[in-house]
């Protein structure tokens, strides 16, 4: 039976309780307290398998505690805490409940010891998180949320299919390291890959996250994708194909990050790139590399949150996060600016900032295993990260061409949340052993060697030099109000266009969900509606005679079948 309650129950309780509390600070306090208690809960849970139960003959494990799970569980709790603090001003019950359930599901999934439990929480994160997008309450957000939901749920359905196949093959639903091979493992891999935003499966990420609310994006940035990284680290460590997937992931979004106008979306591309590093780490699969992946997820959640918070604050005060509309805010939002720069320095992996201590692990792991090309790609991505995030975000938001906007400084609770996060970013950068001690494997790695510090500074400052020269030469692409085409064009534009030109227009309500798949569906559905709808033949009230005819025909067929057999 259940000896240690999974932390999810705490979040669930919180979410159930919240609507009954008086609106205002009490609710805010609840959302802050739950992650703190949850973290303590995780911290004090003894290692091993807890909460085992048999359900329909399946051995379910609600709580598997080991170092890998704990490190993710803790950083998720931390992220939930910081996000709640940042959202102190929020008076939206839907978002507060969704945040608790979302964080709770993500943590629940991390501790899931079997695939069925994982699946339950996997879908839980999908369903809870979409409300953070819908909370924007605009038509665009509704459509985006629908697209997001379709893809997230599909990931879950594929996981379900995979786990059924896996169960069929192995007779076990335990969530352990797997080897790619059977259809089941591939399905599970694909499902993880969708959530992890593998190249070409990634568009939901850039589509959905910037569409959320100010606070919603901060929450979203922490959980789903890192959960996928955790799942990969748990299920497919050392799977070679991940190295190459990760390397591509780390490099190609650069182009998009550079030309994207919406700074929050730039951040999402950058998030995608950071995921690439983690995926490479998981793919290499050595102790150093897996430590690197876990560490990078940990630091990544923090500095991403910091930057999303900073941009959120800008959005909160000005109503936009678009590079083309911003600029020159450094005088009126100086604290936010400084904190954002700290986040930018962390993501660019400057020594003494958190990104440095985690990214180095992965790069070193790649070098140790002599994946030279991958290593070179990651290095280039590091240089790129400085440009498209480290410099671009602060530069275009706070410096650059003056937009004439003079917003007030972010509210105190936002500054507090950002300040804490920034302190953590620097703290981890200065005292790497704090994080290293939490990692799944023993760390025997000195990050602050002369070689390492100097080479890293060279890499970064010369990239900055490149940026400065390109700016001077007027070559650097300046932000413009625009959207950028990506593979989602196939399902958001091409498909619908084809469908349109063939003359198969569909009703406006269906246009909402859009997408090639949705459009084709809609078309199919229109046909179905003609036959199956309330006025269609199959739903009509048939005359009795016709029904009797059916009976006769069926009887005839049955007789023939039986006599012929």
């Amino acid at each position: 039976m259940i000896d240690v309650l999974p932390p999810f129950t705490l979040y669930l309780l919180g979410a159930l309780l919240l609507p009954f509390l008086p609106k205002g600070h009490v609710r805010g306090l609840l959302t802050i307290v739950v992650p703190v208690v949850g973290a303590w809960w995780i911290w004090s849970a003894p290692e091993g398998l807890h909460g085992q139960m048999t359900w329909m003959g399946l051995e379910m494990v609600w709580m598997r505690v080991d170092k890998l799970a704990v490190v993710f569980g803790l950083v998720f709790s931390l992220a939930a805490f910081l996000a709640a603090l940042y959202a102190w001003h929020l008076r939206d019950t839907v978002q507060q409940v969704a945040t608790l359930l979302y964080a709770g599901s993500a943590i629940g999934a991390v501790f899931a010891g079997d695939l069925v439990t994982l699946f339950l929480f996997w879908e839980g994160t999908a369903i809870a998180s979409v409300f953070l997008i819908w909370a924007r309450r605009t038509e665009g957000a509704y459509a985006t949320g629908m697209r997001y939901l379709v893809i997230q749920i599909s990931s879950g359905v594929i996981l379900l299919g995979g786990l059924v196949l896996q169960y069929h093959d192995t007779g076990s639903i335990a969530f352990e390291a797997m080897t790619l091979g059977s259809l089941g493992t591939w399905a599970i891999f694909l499902s993880f890959g969708i959530k992890c935003a593998f190249p070409l499966l990634h568009d939901w990420l850039q589509d959905a996250y910037p569409a959320a609310t100010v606070t919603g994006t901060v929450v979203l940035s922490a959980f789903t994708t890192k959960l996928a990284v955790y799942a990969l680290a748990r299920g497919f460590p050392g799977t070679e194909i991940l190295i190459y997937i990760g390397a591509v992931m780390a490099l190609f979004p650069f182009v998009y990050a550079l030309i994207e106008n919406d700074l929050r979306r730039v951040m999402v591309y950058s998030l995608n790139i950071q995921l690439g590093y983690m995926v490479v780490g998981v793919g290499i699969g050595t102790e150093l590399a897996l430590n690197g992946a876990a560490a990078h997820a940990f630091t990544g959640i923090l500095y991403k949150a910091l930057l999303f918070m900073g941009l959120g604050a800008v959005l909160f005060r000005t109503g936009t996060a678009k590079a083309s509309e911003l600029g020159g805010l450094y005088k009126t939002m100086p604290v936010t600016m400084v904190l954002c720069v700290i986040g930018a320095a962390s993501i660019s992996a400057f020594p003494l900032f958190s990104g440095f201590i985690s990214k180095s692990l992965i790069l070193s792991a790649a070098a140790h295993e002599h994946h030279n090309i991958v290593w070179a790609m990651l290095l280039a991505a590091s240089a790129g990260a400085l440009i498209h995030t480290g410099i671009k975000i602060p530069y275009f938001a706070f410096f650059g061409a003056d937009s004439g906007k003079r917003p007030k400084e972010a509210p105190a609770h936002m500054l507090l949340a950002m300040g804490l996060t920034a302190a953590l970013c620097i703290g981890l950068g200065v005292f790497p052993s704090v994080l290293y001690d939490m990692l799944p494997y023993e760390v025997d790695y000195d990050v602050y060697t002369t070689t390492h510090v100097i080479t890293q500074l060279q890499l970064l400052l010369f990239s900055a030099l490149g940026f400065a020269l390109l700016m001077k030469a007027g070559i650097f692409p300046m932000p413009q109000r625009s959207v950028t085409l990506s593979s989602d064009w196939t399902y958001r534009k091409a498909g619908p266009a084809v469908v349109w030109y063939v003359g198969l227009a569909v009703r406006a309500s269906w246009r909402g969900t859009s997408g090639l798949i949705a459009k084709l569906y809609a078309d199919f559905i229109k046909a179905m509606h003609a036959s199956a709808g309330p006025d269609g033949a199959r739903a009509a009230n048939w005359p009795t005679g016709a029904m009797v005819m059916n009976i006769a025909i069926l009887l005839g067929i049955v007789l023939v079948v039986i006599f012929v057999s």
Binding site: G533, V548, L554, V561, I562, F563, S565
Partner: protein, 537 residues
């Protein structure tokens, strides 16, 4: 302690008479209700008799859940001359389902019927009891012709019950008429089939039939009988394409009747079909005649998709649920067609789980009808917010209908997918999952209507009275309970499937070991002349 012994003897006698009481109690209640003729009394009698039936069916189910069967000879006449009641895990589970739903529907019906029908309440309850008796009888009996008799008892009363919806909507009359015509054809086919069997074997007792059919599987008479029985029962079970009577009957019948019928009527027919296919005819016979492969699988798939597609586009929640039922019956047929342990278990469990799920949902609709006057989406918009408990119950029922893990619906679909895998029918497994997505759509539409639409400004709807609310809550809890604790449903279904696939209605194996009972059964005791045949497992 003579008195003590006496009491124990009486208890034992009663115990031995349970199979007869299962039918006699509700059957006698019907005339009693008419005799007393008062609305209140009628309801109390009906409720009491259903409750007693529920207890009896539970006791019976507990005896057979582990395997074996109970044989009861009506009036002491030994089969094949006399009528035999024969209970094993398969019909035990269905008896339990029917009486459970009937008992829970009764409190619900009280207010719901008051609101929807103004006259003849006593006759209504009498009819309902007859219908209940008929369904129970169909399931419990081990005599082929007796099945037909009870089938007619239940059908005739059903026609009346459906027609009683005419007060709310006149179309109930045509719906009832259609159902009458078609139901009669179905029953006729069934009885023709039995006629063929009688011609070939000269017996009507199912166990006996099973024995005598062996060796003449290739006889045209036997085969034609099979065709007629399958089509006749298929019609009663609303198997596509013989389902056309169902949507209208369910839509226009009074809410309480719909709850009861949707949860039980088709299930009873499917059970009888299973019984005839596997116990009277043998699984091998069914397999060799290719009926399952050529007919059931495509028809089941057609039902799963066709029914669901129509449900997606409905604008009336009651009608939507009716079409969804057609789709769900597809799953049950598919389970049979898999012809393996998991598949038949899936069918059995799905009958049970879908029974309670649909009962919840139709009750929810009934509550809407009570408050909003109709079940059209236009009228029930936003009601989930005005009627929070009803809304919550519908959400749970809806999730179970989709088959979300943790609800009853998941258990049966999971088994069904397993069954498809066991037969290496990957595409079918995939189609099961796909059709579940359709359920997501039509259920989501309901959620959207009742939660996301703004309620009518003037609407003062609130949750229905306790008598309706409590049954809904009980069933909603059951939906979750049977999704998590599957011992009862899955256990009985597993045993049932095993017995069914062994064929021969227990002829091959001895019946229940009655010596395991607390007292020796006094042979010949009791005026009905019961005889529980003994033996070892």
């Amino acid at each position: 302690m003579a008195g003590d012994v006496e009491i124990r003897e009486v208890a034992m006698t009663l115990h031995a008479q349970l199979p007869a009481l299962q039918i006699v109690v509700p059957f006698m209640t019907a005339p009693l209700i008419v005799f007393f003729g008062k609305r209140e009394t009628a309801w109390w009698l009906a409720f009491l008799s259903c409750s007693v039936s529920l207890v009896i069916s539970y006791l019976l189910l507990m005896q057979v859940i582990g395997g074996g069967f109970i044989s009861y000879q009506m009036g002491g006449w030994a089969p094949p001359l006399g009528i035999e009641y024969r209970i094993d895990a398969a019909n035990g589970l269905i008896l339990f389902l029917i009486s459970l739903v009937a008992t829970i529907t009764m409190p619900f019906a009280y207010r719901s019927i008051q609101a929807e029908i103004t006259r003849s309440h006593t006759l209504f309850y009498a009819c309902l009891m007859l219908c209940f008796t008929g369904l129970m009888g169909m399931v419990i009996t081990g005599d082929a012709f007796n099945v037909f008799v009870f089938l007619e008892v239940s059908s005739l009363s059903t026609y009346v019950l459906v027609a009683m919806g005419a007060e709310r909507d006149k179309r109930a009359l045509t719906a009832a008429f259609d159902y009458l015509i078609l139901g009669t054809i179905g029953a006729t086919f069934f009885v023709i089939g039995i006629g063929f069997l009688y011609m070939a074997t000269g017996t009507l007792n199912m166990a006996d039939l099973a024995d005598r059919i062996q060796g003449q599987e290739s006889s045209r008479t036997v085969r034609a009988g099979f065709a007629f029985i399958v089509v006749g029962l298929g019609l009663k079970a609303a198997m596509v394409p013989l389902h056309l009577w169902l949507p209208r009957a369910y839509t226009y019948a009074p809410s309480a009747v719909t709850v009861f019928l949707a949860a039980t009527a088709t299930k009873a027919s499917i059970y009888v079909m299973l019984r005839f296919m596997f116990s009277v005819y043998q699984p091998e016979f069914v397999f060799h005649t290719n009926v399952l492969q050529i007919l059931f699988i495509p028809l089941a798939l057609l039902a799963m998709f066709g029914g669901s597609f129509v449900a997606v586009f409905q604008t009336d929640m009651k009608r939507m649920l009716a079409y969804s039922s057609i789709g769900q019956i597809g799953y049950m047929l598919l389970g049979i067609a898999m012809l393996n342990q998991s598949g038949v278990s899936a069918t059995m469990v799905h009958m049970f789980n879908h029974g309670i799920t649909k009962a919840v949902l139709f009750m929810g609709v009934g509550a809407f009808v009570l408050r909003a006057g109709s079940s059209f989406y236009d009228n029930i918009g936003g009601l989930g917010r005005k009627m929070p408990v009803t809304g919550a119950v519908i959400v749970i029922g809806g999730l179970s209908l989709i088959g979300i893990p943790g609800t009853a619906g998941f258990v049966s679909k999971w088994l069904l997918v397993q069954a498809a895998f066991e037969n290496d029918m990957w595409p079918i497994a995939l189609l099961i999952v796909l059709s579940s997505l359709l359920a997501v759509i039509y259920v989501w539409r309901v959620f959207e209507v009742i939660y996301l639409q703004a309620p009518n400004e003037w609407s003062e709807a609130s949750d229905p009275p306790m008598t309706m609310l409590v049954p809904m809550i009980i069933l909603a809890v059951a939906c979750v309970y049977f999704g998590i604790f599957t011992d009862l449903s899955l256990g009985a279904a597993g045993t049932a499937a095993e017995a069914l696939l062994n064929g021969s209605f227990g002829m091959a194996e001895p019946s229940l070991d009655t010596s395991a009972l607390p007292l020796d059964v006094p042979h010949g005791a009791g005026d009905a002349g019961a005889d529980a045949t003994g033996g070892d497992h």
